[in-house]
Amino acid sequence: MALPKYTETRYRIWHYFYIAICTFVFVFLIAPLFVIFPLSFNAEEFLVFSEGMKNLDPDAFSLRWYKDMVYGTKNPWGLAAKNSFIIAIFATLGSVILGTVAALGLSSRHMPFKGIIMATLISPMIVPLIISGVAIFFFMAKAGLAATHTGIVLAHIILGTPFVVITVTATLSGFDHSVTRAAASLGSNPVNTFMKVTLPLILPGVISGGLFAFVTSFDEVVVVLFLAGLENTTIPIQMWTGLREQLSPTILAVATCLIVLSTLILISAELLRRRSERLRGINR
């Protein structure tokens, strides 16, 4: 973004002002995530930077809160983490299967009422979570699935499928349908064609949709708050309760772990996106 030498002073000033604004916004976006790191290693119980931490005194730092997170006697994090992973994995599987199959139908040019059906399938993403929560709670209560893992998994499938539908239809929009016709003309049945030809080509889109569904489920708290009983507690519920009652450094330790997890997910999503673009580039 170097400016040419002939730039007038006022544009020069404007340019630096613009850079300053952008820097501020980037700091605003990313800095909040980084306050959590040092404070989670705090040796004391307070959520402020102690004098020792400011002077980088090694004694001011400790793994105390991480130990508390894992070994703490009354800590619910173990159960919460187990539930969160189980629910997120099953919800992801369900969303991916239902969403991918639906996306295949939606991207067919023979699909009737495409607009309204697409709008319906995407609606759980648009409707405010609190309303989804109320509606899903009414259904689960009637079906006797409130406070069960099954109920929460089904709820998260509802919330997760729109992401899969969107990413997979996007991938399929650049898909060359002549390859499936070629497979069919060579005597392959539709299921075989899907498994051997279509799926490998749209896999990046499917996986990135799955990642969205996983994160949605893993991070979801509004609907779970309506549905979960004591046995079904999840990480977000525990964080929510913790944040409402008292901010403890243990929460920050958990938060740090979650940031590491989201970094990993970000990296895989980014790699998948590039691979998908490359694959679609070859197809074009």
Binding site: M1, Y18, V25, F26, F28, L29, I30, P32, L33, V35, I36, L39, L98, V101, A102, G105, S108, H110, M111, P112, I117, M118, A119, T120, L121, S123, P124, I126, V127, P128, I130, I131, V134, I136, F137, F138, F139, I157, I158, T161, F163, I166, T169, F212, F218, V222, L225, F226, P236, M239, L243, R244, L247, I251, A255, L258, I259, S262, L266, A269
Partner: protein, 420 residues
């Protein structure tokens, strides 16, 4: 030569047109069958329950079923003077059944909502019925009227009559701080009890300003990301995507730490001399906290659509604008900005839709003056257990969101939503 074209037949002798139509229909069914499982699943578990929210919000059958005979005999009553002996008699017989089923408490509760004072007089009547003090061979009207003076007041009988229809709009009116008065006219509640309208206004206000802030902050960085060379922009893109992928609760937690009175932001203000150390401003548990945290949380949803639009604008357009004599500002305003309008529309609508239904962040950093309508819905779902009121408010919110969603669909198209 005949003018008619010869009908083309397929090998099995069926006209080609029919054969093609058949194949087309088969394809349609095939495509539909692929979508069907998800569609059915959503309709059963999601769309249908939203419809159920509606019936629940207007449902008033409970009392209609409790006092069937009373309402039947009230049909001929003009509602101006005290009802006839017949109405009193049927009310007593309905009431006796309720006492047997131990449901008279529910009746009192429901009637008390319609008009204050029913609790006491229903209890009094219950005691009389329980002790078999009411002699059915004599005038029931006289005896009931002796139980309490309010039973002699025609307004209470009018209130009972008002509860007769099986459906009610009361919950919707209540959400707008209004109610139906004695003459069936919509009236506002007294000034000091108007809490919901403030919440609606605040919700729209917060969503609007968060959208504006997101736009003001998102536009410059989306522009920067779109114009920088790939290797730099990829690095900076992480600053947008990492918050996007990070848990909402984690981000809210970090704002709680940053904005607290001994927090980093206040430390910084003291350091640069903006405020004195013993006079640190309260930035959390009020609107400021809600604004700051929600803007940061929703900013990626503004930047990503803007970026994907800006990425497609060729830099040579700006150069052309400048070479034709426009100053950089004119070139930007006349050439670049109009081209980004689809992105602005998409980003603003997305942020507004998400902001208007926000729940978690306002509940944690909003305090009393920063809570929004969603928090009120959750409060009635979990604390007061007035589910029909929560449903009514939820549907009103949903109505607003659907209008915006429809707009979004018109302007951008739901199938054009880009993620990451």
């Amino acid at each position: 030569m005949s003018s008619e074209t010869k009908q083309i037949l397929t090998t099995d002798g069926i006209p080609l047109e029919i054969s093609l139509k058949k194949a087309e229909r088969k394809n349609k069914i095939k495509a539909f069958l692929l979508v069907a499982p998800l569609l059915l699943f959503l309709i059963i578990t999601y769309i249908f329950p939203i419809g159920e929210m509606f019936t629940r919000s207007i449902d008033d059958k409970m009392i209609t079923n409790m006092l069937p005979k009373t309402f039947k005999s009230m049909e001929t009553w003009d509602g101006k003077e005290l009802p006839s002996e017949e109405v009193f008699a049927s009310f007593l017989s309905d009431f006796k059944i309720l006492v047997e089923k131990k449901e008279h408490g529910k009746l009192a509760q429901r009637l008390n909502k319609e008009k204050n004072g029913f609790n006491t007089i229903t209890k009094k009547l219950f005691r009389q019925v329980k002790r078999n003090k009411i002699d059915e061979t004599q005038s029931i009207k006289e005896q009931i009227m002796k139980v309490h003076k309010r039973w002699r007041n025609v307004e209470y009988w009018q209130a009972i009559k008002r509860t007769a229809p099986p459906y009610t709009s009361a919950k919707y009116l209540k959400a707008m701080d209004m109610y139906l008065n004695e003459d069936n006219k919509i009236t506002q509640v007294s000034e000091d009890r108007r809490i919901h309208r403030i919440l609606w206004l605040r919700t729209v206000e917060v969503a609007f300003f968060v959208t504006v802030f997101c736009f003001l902050m998102g536009y410059p960085i989306a522009h920067l990301l779109a114009t920088l060379p790939m290797k730099y922009s990829n690095l900076l893109m992480i600053c947008v995507l990492l918050p996007f992928w990070t848990s909402l609760l984690v981000r809210t937690a970090s704002w709680m730490i940053l904005l607290q009175q001994q927090g980093v932001v206040n430390d910084f203000f003291v350091l640069i001399g903006l405020v004195s150390d013993d006079n640190r401003p309260e930035m959390m548990y009020n609107k400021v906290g809600t604004y700051v945290a929600m803007t940061q949380i929703l900013l990626p949803f503004m930047v990503l659509p803007l970026y994907s639009v800006m990425k497609t604008i060729s830099p040579s357009l700006m150069r052309a604008g400048k070479s034709l004599g426009g100053t950089p500002f004119v070139a930007f305003w006349k050439v670049y900005f109009p081209l980004t309008i689809p992105g602005i529309g998409a980003g603003c609508l997305l942020v507004f839709i998400l902001a208007i239904g926000y729940y978690i962040t306002p509940a944690l950093v909003g305090g009393a003056s920063g809570t929004l309508i969603s928090n009120q819905i959750a409060y009635h779902m979990k604390t007061t257990l007035d589910w029909s009121f929560a449903s009514a408010m939820g549907l009103m919110l949903l109505g607003g969101v659907l209008v915006i969603y429809w707009l979004y669909n018109k302007l951008v198209g739901v199938d054009n939503i880009k993620l990451g």
